[in-house]
């Protein structure tokens, strides 16, 4: 009996196939043994339970935008495209619940029809599935104004590695009914379970968005000014230094975003320019130039083969950037308020990245390699031993059979 026949015998009503055209584009290395397409949370649980019994790895697949799997045994693909609906949307409650396979774009579009939005802007945001969006929880340039995604995921339905269904959190903003198991799921890269649906907090669309741009010859030249904005009395919703930027003909820039009513934004702009001691180029957030600039910042590094991400205290960003320059990383996006740096290049020497990692660690920060061309991938900053131990214990109770296959991004 083939694996597909065994699946159909054990899991009724869930579509599956063992042809691989649909997932071939992901360059998975070894092809999956089977692709299953559940259409409900219960289907997902049935597939997970079966995979655990068969001792098969499970790779959840939304839009495939962030999947970088490394095959180390037989596995199946669990497509979430069948869970693509918006399950519940209450505009007056500012909450929306969508299936894992729904694109962020579909959620955002539904919200905007009602003058609302989800203020998160990570790389390739609109192409991504909600499941992947929540599982990776990548840093958003809007962090200064709206905080991290984990603060705005109100609830999620999660299926554990052995097929248990957990409804975590809820549909209300304040909820402390038991330990917050939702927190480690958000950004957990699928280590604790397959996210099947997500409830997000929505926000009113600001009356106006204004983009202030201060150009410079390099990111390093602009960093002190950006750090000064970070301690100004007015806090923009985004403080980013980036460069070189194609939108600005290869120049670097500090890009600030202001949200609010017109009079508020006017006043904020005046305060910031006074603080900087200079004026800036000003764009309406909806203008073509602003949209192009923001998109380039958001999707930064998509064309380069090597990408790394660093986190460090904002006051230590400058010294880490100097180390990045020494490592040949001159293409950078820095959220100076959060102390988050993304750097990209077509080719990097792993020794240089190791030196950068050490510079970050000496400054109390950390480095993670996002993409790497070649087999000589440098190491990430390790977790502390106690954190590793606690994390592994957590994973063992969510995924006792070890079938969950975390994705990398």
């Amino acid at each position: 009996m083939t694996l597909l026949e065994r699946f159909r015998g054990a899991v009724s009503g869930v579509a599956a196939h063992d042809s691989f055209e649909a997932v071939g584009r992901l360059a998975l290395g070894e092809p999956p043994s089977l692709t299953a397409s559940p259409r409900s949370v219960e289907d997902v649980a049935a597939v997970m339970g079966w995979a655990a019994e068969e001792r098969l790895g499970v790779l959840p697949l939304g839009r495939g935008s962030e999947v970088r799997p490394v095959a180390d045994g037989p596995f199946i693909v669990l497509e979430t495209s069948g869970l693509s609906g918006i399950d519940e949307y209450q505009p007056a409650d500012l909450t929306i619940t969508a299936g894992a396979g729904a694109t962020f774009a579909s959620v955002d579009d539904a919200l905007r029809e009602n003058g609302q939005w989800a203020p998160f802007d990570p790389p390739r945001a609109r192409q991504r599935s909600m499941g992947g969006f929540v599982s990776t929880a990548d840093h958003s340039p809007l962090w200064a104004g709206y905080g991290a995604l984990k603060n705005h995921v109100l609830g999620a339905t999660v299926v554990t590695g052995d097929g248990r269904i957990l409804r975590l959190g809820g549909k209300v903003v304040k909820n402390v009914a038991g330990y917050d198991l939702l927190r480690p799921v958000v950004g957990g890269r699928g280590r604790l379970g397959v996210v099947a649906s997500v409830c997000l907090r929505a926000f009113p669309v600001p009356a106006e968005e204004r983009v202030l741009v201060v150009k410079g010859d390099s990111a390093l030249d602009l960093i002190e000014r950006a750090l000064a904005v970070g301690v100004a009395p007015v806090l923009p919703v985004s403080i980013v230094v980036a460069g070189p930027l194609m939108t600005l003909e290869g120049r670097s820039a500090m890009v600030l975003r202001l949200h609010g009513a017109g009079s508020t934004v006017d006043a904020d702009q005046a305060t910031i320019e006074q603080h900087l001691g200079s004026s800036s180029d000003v764009f309406d957030g909806a203008s073509g130039t602003a949209q192009s600039l923001l998109e380039e910042i958001r999707d930064f590094g998509g064309r380069e083969a090597c990408r790394v991400e660093l986190s460090v205290l904002p006051s230590r960003v400058g010294e880490v950037l100097r180390a990045a320059g020494a490592a040949g990383l001159r293409s950078l996006v820095i959220d100076t308020y959060a102390g988050r740096i993304r750097a990209a290049a077509d080719r990097l020497d792993p020794t240089d990245v190791d030196a950068l990692r050490l510079a970050a660690e000496e400054a109390g920060g950390a480095l993670r390699v996002l993409d790497w061309a070649g087999s000589d991938r440098p190491s990430d900053t390790p977790c502390r031993a106690a954190e590793v131990r606690l994390s592994e214990r957590l994973v063992s109770i969510f995924d006792p059979g070890g079938v969950l296959w975390p994705t990398r991004s």
Binding site: L94, L166, Y179, G187, P233, V234, S311, L313, A366
Partner: protein
């Protein structure tokens, strides 16, 4: 409420063992910082949920992380229950002792360890009173956002344990949003460091976020790193007076739907207004009003009047008979007074007060409040409502006399019906007070058996022997 006899009885320490353990604790923290005399233990019999009282065997008051580590190591070795306690202001019995347990109090760990203005961070000990942090950072133009109503007494360690909220969490979020790193002493005395600003890309699982709100069951946080915010340039505060709760509810819905983002939206009902106005806290609210709505905006001075104007229009359109606007800080405090002093005022008109806590989707507030009133009538109980209307966080306050067994029974039944009601409309059993012992019995309303078992197992990840704050959270 769960029945008091549900509280777990741990290893029965005999008196000799108590003295042996107490001597070892005295050697760690000093003789004067270990309490065993029954007269002095009375103060530790309960927290803010006074319906439950259990005397601990001892109270130990360490001063440093190292002392906490050594204390927990001793207690773990003897299999003694450990009950962490901050200021004891919690309202769910989270610091209720077990009969053979030892309270580890953080009262002496009340220092601010650092204020990092460049990175807008502060590191504090767990016994620091919430309001003290903002007092210390205000000269630098910074403040700590979570502001529980008890902020002049409650501690940061307690806030972390309960993931505390407060009136301004509508705009700024709850404690978990601000805690960036923790030093934690585990049940066996091991000291671990979790997270930390600047280390965000190291590791996948948010252990800091999981620890916040764990109600003292995962460890004792001995150093807490929190994010600070810049103090807003301006504030506008309004008070809307309504003939009915329903009209006030409509005003809230209109304000939130209009795209405004108030910092706080709070409602007190008629019964609360009457109680406040009859007390020494009288705030000048009309006693014939059905509800009073406090709305506050903060941010850039230039836009605040426009926001306040729009909110006032929403109130008037919803039928407000009057909208007052503060023109000075003194007036602002006056408008808030009826809300902030509500609990104190109610304490003066009944021997006992059960402060309930639940959250519902904001649009369901009017219907839920009407049904809570019916529950009060059905059980012949006086219920006064104070709530964070902007985020649907209700605090029905049941006034009663615990000396009346029949009334106590009715309070318990009414409480359960209120919880069932809130859950039935898509809400939950606690928004900011935590589960403790009070809500343990209601946990099956929001978690099935699989989820409850998962909660138990996650607790064992941190405390495999279950010595930390036993009998709390999970039934």
């Amino acid at each position: 409420m769960a029945a008091p006899h549900d509280v777990r009885v741990s290893s029965l320490m005999n008196q000799t063992l108590v003295e042996t353990v107490a001597d070892r604790l005295r050697a760690i923290v000093g003789t004067e910082h270990v309490i065993t005399h029954p007269d002095r233990l009375v103060a530790y019999e309960s927290d803010g949920l006074t319906a439950y009282r259990v005397a601990p065997r001892a109270v130990v008051l360490p001063e440093t992380t190292d002392q906490v580590s050594k204390v927990l190591s001793v207690l773990h070795g003897e299999g003694v229950d450990v009950i962490p306690r901050g200021a004891g202001t919690g309202l769910s019995g989270g610091a209720l002792p077990t009969p053979d347990g030892v309270i580890v109090g953080t009262a002496r760990m009340n220092r601010i360890l650092s204020i990092d203005t460049k990175n807008r961070l502060a590191t504090v000990q767990p016994g620091l009173i919430n309001a003290r942090l903002t007092e210390a950072t205000a000269p630098y133009g910074l403040y700590y956002a979570p502001d529980p109503s008890s902020q002049s007494a409650c501690t940061l360690g307690g806030n972390v344990a309960e993931n505390s909220g407060g009136p301004h969490c509508l705009k700024y979020g709850v404690t978990a949003r601000y805690v960036t790193g923790l030093t934690v002493v585990m049940a066996d005395g091991e000291v671990v460091r979790l997270g930390g600003a600047g280390r965000e890309v190291a590791g996948d699982l948010d252990l800091v976020g999981l620890f916040v709100g764990s109600e003292g069951c995962f460890g004792i946080a001995t150093e807490i790193e929190v994010r600070l915010l810049p103090i807003a340039e301006g504030i506008r505060t309004l008070l809307g007076i309504f003939d009915s709760m329903e009209a006030a509810g409509h005003a809230v819905t209109d304000i939130m739907a209009s795209g405004l983002m108030p910092a706080a939206v709070e409602i007190v009902d008629h019964a609360t207004i009457v109680a406040v106005e009859a007390s020494v806290f009288a705030a000048g609210y009309p006693t014939d009003a059905g509800a009073a709505l406090v709305i506050e905006f903060d941010g850039t001075e230039a836009g605040l009047d426009a926001d306040a104007d729009r909110a006032e229009q929403c109130c008037l359109a919803a039928g407000a008979r009057e909208v007052r606007r503060a023109t000075s800080e003194e007036e602002r405090l006056g408008l808030w007074k009826g809300r902030k002093k509500a609990f104190g005022a109610m304490g003066r008109i009944a021997p006992d007060l059960l402060v309930q806590d639940a959250t519902v989707p904001r649009t369901r507030l009017p219907e839920v409040l009407a049904r809570i009133a019916k529950i009060g009538d059905e059980y012949d109980l006086k219920i006064a409502n104070v709530f964070h209307a902007g985020d649907g966080n209700l605090h029905p306050n049941i006034l009663f006399d615990r000396q009346n067994p029949d009334e106590l029974d009715r309070v318990e039944k009414a409480s359960r019906e209120i919880m069932e009601l809130c859950v039935s409309v898509g809400g939950t059993i606690t928004g900011e007070h935590g589960v403790g012992v009070d809500k343990r019995g209601y946990m099956p309303l929001v978690h099935n058996a699989v989820e409850l078992e998962m909660l138990r197992r996650v607790r064992w990840v941190f405390d495999p022997h279950g010595n930390l704050n036993p009998g709390k959270v999970v039934p």
